[in-house]
Every structure is written in C-alpha cells, then in structure tokens.
Amino acid sequence: MHNYNLEKRKFVIGGAAIVIVLIYILRLFALQIMSDDYKKNADSNAFLKKVQFPARGAIYDRNGRLMVYNQPAYDLMVVMREVNNLDTLDFCETLGITKEFFIKRMADIKNRALNPGYSRYTEQLFLSQLPAEEFAVFQEKLFRFSGFYIQRRTTRQYTYNVAAHVLGDVAEVSPRDIEEDDYYRSGDFIGIQGVERSYEKVLRGEKGVEILLRDARGRIQGKYQNGAYDKRPVPGKNLTLGLDVELQELGERLLEGKIGSIVAIEPSTGDILCMVSAPSYDPHLLVGRDRGKHHLELSRDSWKPLLNRAVSGTYPPGSTFKTSQALTFMQEGIISPTQTFYPCYHGFVYGGLRVGCHAHGSPLPLIPALATSCNGYFCWGLYYMFSNRTKYKTVQQAMTTWKDYMVSMGFGYQLGVDIPGERRGMIPNAAFYDKAYRGSWNGLTVISIAIGQGEVTLTPLQIANLGATIANRGYFITPHVVHSIEGGRLDSIYYERRYTKVESRYYEEVVQGMRQAVLAGTCRGANIPDIEVCGKTGTAQNRGHDHSAFMGFAPMNNPKIAIAVYVENGGFGAVYGVPIGKLMIEKYLKGKLSPESEEQAKVIQAKRIMYGDQER
C-alpha cells in the first residue's frame, strides 16, 4: 500500500534532519572559529601560571665594589577562593597585625579599582616583604591558614650608605604602571628613581612561568606537557657604574650640613665619577615594609632630601660661566686672546649701568681676566658682540648666535643623563627678551648673562659637563652614571662625541686662563703641588647669601676628572667650592687624601651653613 502523497513527507523529515545538522555545524563554526574568547577562557580555566621571579641585577661601582644586591624576603599571598575557616585572631597575632588592618587589606585586595588584576582564583599579594625572622614564625603555622601561600621574593640591599639619588629605589608597581606595561602584575616591583628606574628593563630581567594544570576543583594535576612550555626566569643584568664609591663618600661627607651638589665626570668617557646631592638620605630607608612611612617623612622634610639637586637643581652658574663666554667671543672674533684689552675699574660702567668687580690690574687681556674672574672684561665682550651691527643685523640675531653657542655646550636643554629627573636649565633666547622687554632691549639690558647671572641657570651636571668640555678641548660625551651593562651595551649616545661650535685652539686659551686662576688667581686654594689643576670659581648672586661654586678639571693635560661643586649660600667660590673641588680631585687622582687635606676635609665636613626655616 503506497500512498504517494504521504511519501513526500520523507522530504520534510529528511529536510528537518539536514537543517538541524547544518544549524549545529554553523554553531560549531561560531564557537570554534569565529571567537577566540572561549580559547582564552579555557586557558585561564585549566592553566595555573605560576610566576617565577628573576633576581634583579646587582649594581657595582667603577672599581667592582658591590653597591646594591638582593636579599631574600617573603611575600604573603592569598587565594581568596581557598580561604575558609580562618582563625582571624590567631592569624593576626602571628603576623603582628591588627584585625582592622586585616579586614581593610582583604577588602582592598577585592577592590578592582585598587587591584585591577584581581581574581578569586589566583594568588594576590596580602603582605609584602616579610623579613626572614617573621617568616619563620609564620611558616610554622602556615598549614592552619588555608588559602595563604608564601612567595619568595627579594628586596634590595645596600653595601654603602651613599649615592641614594643615583641608585634610586624600587617599590611596588602602581596601578598606572600596570596599565602602561603589561609585564607587571600587582605586587611586582619597579624602579622608582635613579638607575633603578632608568635601567628598569635591564635590571628586572624576565619573569619565568611554570604552567601547571589545575582541575575543576582547583587541585594541581602536574605540569602542562611536562614543563615543555615553562619558561625559566632570566635574571636581570648587572650594572657597573662609573661612580667611584670612595669619591662619592668623600663628596657626601664634605657637603654634610649644607645644601648643594658635586658632580665629577671622566672627560674622556663621560662617565660620572660621583654625583652628590646634599642633603641626602640613607638608601636603606626606602626598603622593606616601612618604605612607605619613610618615604612620606622624607618627602615632607623641608630640606627636600629626595631631590637630586645635581640634575634637578638649576642655579645661576656665576663666574664659571665666563669660560663659555670667552670661547664664544673668540670664535665669533669679538675678542682676540692676546690683543683685546678691556678696561675694568672696579667693574663695568656704561652710562648709568654698573656691574661691580674687585680690585685687579686694568686694562687686561683674556687669560688674566679669567684668572682674576674680571666681570668688566666679559661684560664688555658681550656688549661688543651684541652691538656689532656689521656682523649681526639686529640684537636678536646676535642673541640667537650666542644662544646657539650655549646650546652646543650642553646648556639650555637636558643633556640626556641616564637617570630620571634631569632639568634643562635656562638659556634665554631673543624671543624671551622680546617678550620680557616688549622688543626694546640691547646688550646692556641683558649684560648680566655674560657673567652667569640674570636669566641664565644651569644644573650642577651641566656645569661639570662644561668642565669636561674644556678638559676635552671642545667636545663632550653625554654624561652617564652607568659605565657598562653586563652582557649588554649602553645607548649609543653615551659613546658619541658632541662637539661644540668653538674650535679646539680657543679652548687652549681658556685652559690657560683656568690654570692661571689656580696658580695666581681666584682658585689658588685648588692648587695641588704635583697635579696641574685648572679651575674657575663662581660666586653667584641671589636673593640670599651668595652661592659658592667651583668648576675645574685635572690634570691640565690628559685630564682624568672634571668637576663642579655648588654650595648654596656658601659665599665666595673660594670659601666652599674651591677647597671641596681640590679635595675631590686629590682624592680621585691620588687615591687618598694627604694628612693635611684630611684635616681640611674634617673642617669642611663640620661646617654648617645656616639656612633658616624657609621652604626650599
């Protein structure tokens, strides 16, 4: 019995079967091929990625002395999902924390605004850097506190209590760091200041990972593919600094109780030999669990010990700046080192304008002018340059030319030193004065820039770099704190010579001037019997007591060290700048101070400058 009408229904039934299978295949396509989410989801389900932290690179000084290394510490981690039946009282007592702290800490961990990477299933940092003793007590009871784990970490440790500003510090990453670089997870450490920050990527190494399989109940089922995809942590690279620890120590001693900075540079390489910023602090303070408290105290200190004045302080360079003026005027043909004599009768006098000077012979040529630090000579030089209408059509053009010289010597812009916080200082340009004086100004208006006063400011690093440039007779290598990276290379800018716009032969004249200043001029205090020291004092006027500055290098031929000393409110350059500079040079070149020098150092170390309570 065949009913052909009904037989057609096989197409309906068969069609339904085909449609169902097609829909399911489309669904499979959507799940498996169109979307990646499920795959990621599956990975986070099944894989427990246990991070293995690399050792952070150690830091050595130029003579291979260990300055910064790692010390074991223990982080207490918590997996929220596994915390149950916790005896809170016992827990808090064992750790020595209050119940309130415990409650707040647990709430903070769960707060995704504070802790963006939060997950109930993964380890979250509960308490960081338990010292070894506390850890030992806690470990005995650890089995009682389900959900809590110990993560071995390391903290920074310092051999010497010096160079805090250069070395910098490390601290837990902020939510912003995590956002900017997805290498970091909550609880990781990152360099905050100094070398720790600028060489963060070199020092931190690379985290390793161990991929463990976790079943639906959170139990570990072994290594994924027997560890085929595990990654061993790559330890951070060690750094060798250009810094000489002993020189740095001496510098910090000498600036005790004073506000100021000492920067020494090896002219041939640009290595920074010491970078003192006073007042400083003990780097140990910013390590461990009390870091936050100490950091707050330091940041509230009115002496601003956290500020690295060597790169962040901008000061009028005073007479040390005259060397740069001499070089500019010679190159521009404004003065001739032997034929130009400028008069100076206790200063530069033009019309009603007067820039004072001290007693010395007059008129005089360049070398004695540098040696005696004659204000008149350099004011006349600038005056003649800025009013030379045959060479420069306008005063603006003269100003621009002058500014280009200054910039070529590393002023007015950041030098590019390899620690953070460097400021650019100030070299005014024509537009600046056009704005300040509404277009009506001339050489006389801005005359004080010739003697490193007025609008001009430099950082101590830039002053030291000026010394290095003169020592090199016309070029410098961008100063840098790090001498070498183990198994790596510094940025190429730390190998390149940067030539100024002034020819080498003019530098010789300035070198002679600076040598004369030490032998028979304002820097006689810097004379060391068997070292040919070249130097230039600076006494920078400011609202309070004058700043005392010194810039120099030694030996005169084939120089090994260029140095800048800047002591706020230290008075004449010869009072603090020169003797400190001398002691530093002696220490570096001879390896130790002579007994007399040691006495002198003690005297200077003991001296205190009264700063008062004003905010600085």
Binding site: R9, A17, I25, I33, Y38, A42, D43, L213
Partner: protein, 485 residues
C-alpha cells in the same frame, strides 16, 4: 544452507552496519579522551571506563549478531510480548530500582553493573507500534486507532517520568515524527511547533518594550504571528487566495496604523488592538463556517482561540506556577540570565571546551578542559564536548555529518520497506536518533535546554549502547527480510 547464507549476506544492508561500526569506534575513542586522566593511559583495563566500554561494545556486537540470526516473523509475533515485559520491568524498576543521582531507573546487577530498562523500552515500543499500525484495518484517520497508538506511546513515557527520568521519557515524543509520516495531520506537528515558538518568543521577550512603547515585544510578536498564520491557513485550507490576501492586508494595515498611532500620537498598549483583531477574526470565521458549512473555518477559529489561550496560560504558568528551581534553567537557555555557577555552569564550561578546540582541535587526549573535569558528565551526556575540544571544528562536523548520513540511510531503508511494519519501525528509529542528536548536541552547544539524554553510540554506558544496538539491528533484520517475503 550455503545459498541461504549467501543471500542473507547480500540482503543485509552493509552500509548501515558500516556507519554503525564507524560511530561506535569513534565513540570509543571519544570515551578514551573524556575519561582519561593524566598518568593513567591504560585504556584496555576493565578498571577504566574506556576498558569497560570496550566490553559493552563487544557485547553489543554479539547482541547484534544474535538479532540478525532471528527470524523477522519472530519480531512481529513477539512485539506485544516484549512490550508487556518491558512495561512490567519499568514498573518494577520504580520499586526495586536503586537511587542513582535522584532517579529510580536503574536496576543493580552487581559487580558495579547497572541496567537501565528505559533504554530498551524504546525498541519494545517501536516494535509494538509497528505491529499495531501494520495490523489489518488500522487507519490513522480513525480516532480510536489513533488514541490507542498514542496510548502505546504514553504508557512507557508516564512510567519513566515516574522513575524521574524525564529526559528519557521525552524521547518518546519522537514517535510523533513517525506518526506524521504515517499520515497524522501536519496540523499536529504545526501546532506543536507553534506552541514552542509562542512559548519561547513570549517568555524571552516578555519584558522587552517594543521601541520604548508600553508594549511587550513578546506579546506583540506572538499575536502578530497568530494572525499571520491564520491568513496563511485561510490560503492553505480554504484554498481561496483572495481571502488570504484580504485578511493579511487588513491585519497588516490595522497593526501598522495602531503602531504608528502609539509611536507618534499617544503611546498605548497595541496588544489590545491585536486582541480585538483576533476576536473579530474568530467571529468572522464562525460566521463563515455557519454560512459556508466548511468545517475548516471552525478549525482555524479554534487555532486562533487555542493559540491565544495557550500563549497567555504559558506565560502564567512560567511566571506563577514553575518553581524557583525550574525557572532559571529555562531562563538560562533562553539567554535571559547568565548563571555561570548554577544552571548555566555545565553549558558554559561545555561551550568553553568546544570553543577552545578551534579548527583542528587539540589532538587526541590533549584536551585540557575535559581532562581536568571542567565539564561535568563529560563521558556520558557531554561527550560531544570532548570531540569538539580534541578534534576541533573538522572532527565535530564530521561526527555530525556521520550522524546525518546514518539517519538518512535509515530513512531510505524505511522507505523501501514493502509493508507498514518495517516502515513504521524504521521511522520510529529515525525519530529516536534524530531526537537524541537534536537534544544532546543542542544541549552541549547551548542551544537546547539541558535534558540528560545520551548521544547514541558515543555516550558511555552499556544500557544505552545496547538499547540503540538492539533498536538498530532489529531493523536491519527486518530490512534484510524484505525480498524474501
């Protein structure tokens, strides 16, 4: 004897046997993948599920062979006996059955082996239906005959529901597909589909406002669908195209005007207009029925009334009658709620497992989600996950296509049966396998609700494998006898 054997080998449909063997072998490998835990690679040991399944497969082949050796006549003769025995067994199971995961559908045989009689009830019911529907004088259009058929289906179904195996019981609904092939009015299937659509659309979009008007999208769409179906039915069953166009036009026009008015003039609930329209349609149809004396008008009027009543009562049942335990399951399936720890956990983990497979999968025994027990019931109801994760899109699609070929082949065999007995039995198979495939894979893919029924030949378990084998091999035997009758 030799000639008989040769003709027997020739008359057996080797295509379906080959498909069966491929499915069973694929199934065994999937169980290896799903039940494998790290560091325990011995699949042949009886201690592992893979090893046990191997034994079930061996037994199945033996059962299949025995079934092929029996005479077709025997199946026809003993159909009612089997059916009666199974019914008794099912009833007995309620009382003696051990409680496994809340259901009383298992009989403990000892040695860790359990038997689920419900799996065998399908074959017995199919046989009984085939016997009854091939009996002399049976007609689908005879209401008494039809009720008896429905009774044959409902009896085991109800007993199984009493065993708290709702999933297995629902499988018996698949016999309606066979009834459709045998001449049951398509209106039944159509009504069933309509009911499902009303239910899903009505509940899923009940609280979604239509274009920010005070109108429930679900209500609007369902009422609109009812009216469109009415217009379509007028065209199909009254065979007056003009009538269809007129009513369709009026429905669209009135609804459109009402919508525009609500949207731009005064917002009001358009459903009232639609309900009024429904009442007008019913009155018109009754008038036509009385005037023209064509019963189809009355049926269509009943369709409208039934639809409206069903829709509103299902809404009421869902929001007022269903327990707090049942509601979430439906809501999760309809995508109204995301409940990844409760009712949605299985399905979500199952989607993760499948989705992580990608195009070619992670490779045999390399699936992490299934290995690490993220997917529950992964070697029984959720076995398709393992295929999706380890064999990827290609493997999973291949399995689906294999099933499609298998089902279409059974259909082709059923169509070539010389008598109603074979055809009814064959289409019962088509319905059962299609239903299992549709529900099981749909559940794993998150399309259909979580109803715990196995994927034939893949899910771990002796009872279900034997049940499907018996079902299939009886049919192969019936088919092989067709030429000699």
């Amino acid at each position: 004897m030799v000639t008989k054997n040769v003709s027997f080998i020739k008359s057996v449909d080797w295509v379906i046997i080959a498909l069966y063997l491929v499915l069973v072998i694929c199934g065994w490998f999937s169980i290896c993948g799903a039940s494998y835990t790290y560091g325990e690679p011995d699949f042949l040991s009886f201690d592992t599920r893979a090893g046990k399944q191997l034994i079930w497969i061996g037994c199945s082949l033996a059962i299949g062979f025995v079934l092929l050796m029996l005479e077709k006549k025997l199946y026809e003769m003993l159909a009612y006996v089997f059916y009666a025995l199974i019914i008794l067994l099912l009833i007995a199971t309620i009382f003696v059955g051990s409680d496994i995961k809340g259901s009383h559908s298992w009989i403990r045989l000892g040695g860790g082996v359990n038997l689920q009689p419900a799996e065998f009830a399908k074959a017995a019911t199919a046989l009984a239906l085939a016997r009854y529907m091939s009996s002399y004088g049976f007609s689908m259009h005879n209401l008494r005959d039809l009720l008896k058929v429905i009774g044959l289906i409902m009896l085991p179904m109800l007993i199984i529901i009493m065993q708290k195996e709702t999933g297995s019981a629902l499988v018996f609904l698949s016999f309606f597909l066979m009834l459709y092939r045998e001449g049951m009015s398509g209106a039944f299937l159509f009504s069933g589909i309509c009911a499902i659509v009303y239910f899903i659309v009505g509940i899923r979009f009940a609280d979604v406002p239509l274009w920010e008007m005070p109108v429930s999208t679900g209500e609007f769409v369902v009422l609109f669908l009812i009216q469109l179906c009415t217009a379509g039915m007028l065209g199909t069953y009254i065979r007056k195209k003009s009538l269809m166009y007129w009513t369709g036009g009026i429905i669209l026009g009135v609804t459109g005007v009402a919508l525009l008015f609500s949207l731009y003039v005064i917002p009001f609930d358009v459903a009232w207009i639609q309900l009024g329209l429904c009442i007008l349609l019913i009155l018109y149809l009754i008038y036509m029925w009385l005037r023209e004396r064509i019963n189809n008008f009355a049926y269509i009027a009943m369709f409208i009334l039934g639809s409206v009543v069903f829709f509103y009562s299902s809404n009421y049942v869902f929001s007022e009658v269903l327990s707090e335990h049942q509601k979430p399951r439906i809501e999760v399936v309809l995508g109204m709620k995301e409940d990844l720890t409760g009712a949605g956990y299985n399905v979500n983990q199952s989607k993760i497992a499948i989705g992580s497979g990608g195009l070619t999968g992670k490779g045999f025994l390399n699936g992490t989600q299934t290995k690490l027990k993220y997917v529950p019931e992964q070697d029984t109801d959720f076995i398709f996950c393992t295929i999706g994760e380890e064999q990827g899109f290609l493997g999973a699609s291949a399995v689906l296509l294999l099933f499609l070929a298998f089902i279409l082949r059974i259909m082709a065999l059923a169509e070539r049966q010389p008598d109603a007995f074979g055809r009814v039995y064959g289409y019962s198979l088509v319905g059962i396998f299609l239903f299992h495939l549709f529900i099981n894979v749909g559940m794993v893919l998150g399309i259909t609700p979580v109803i715990g029924i196995p994927l034939p030949f893949f899910s771990y378990g002796g009872s279900s494998l034997w049940g499907f084998t018996i079902l299939l091999f009886i049919f192969i035997r019936i088919d092989s006898a067709r030429k000699r009758v």
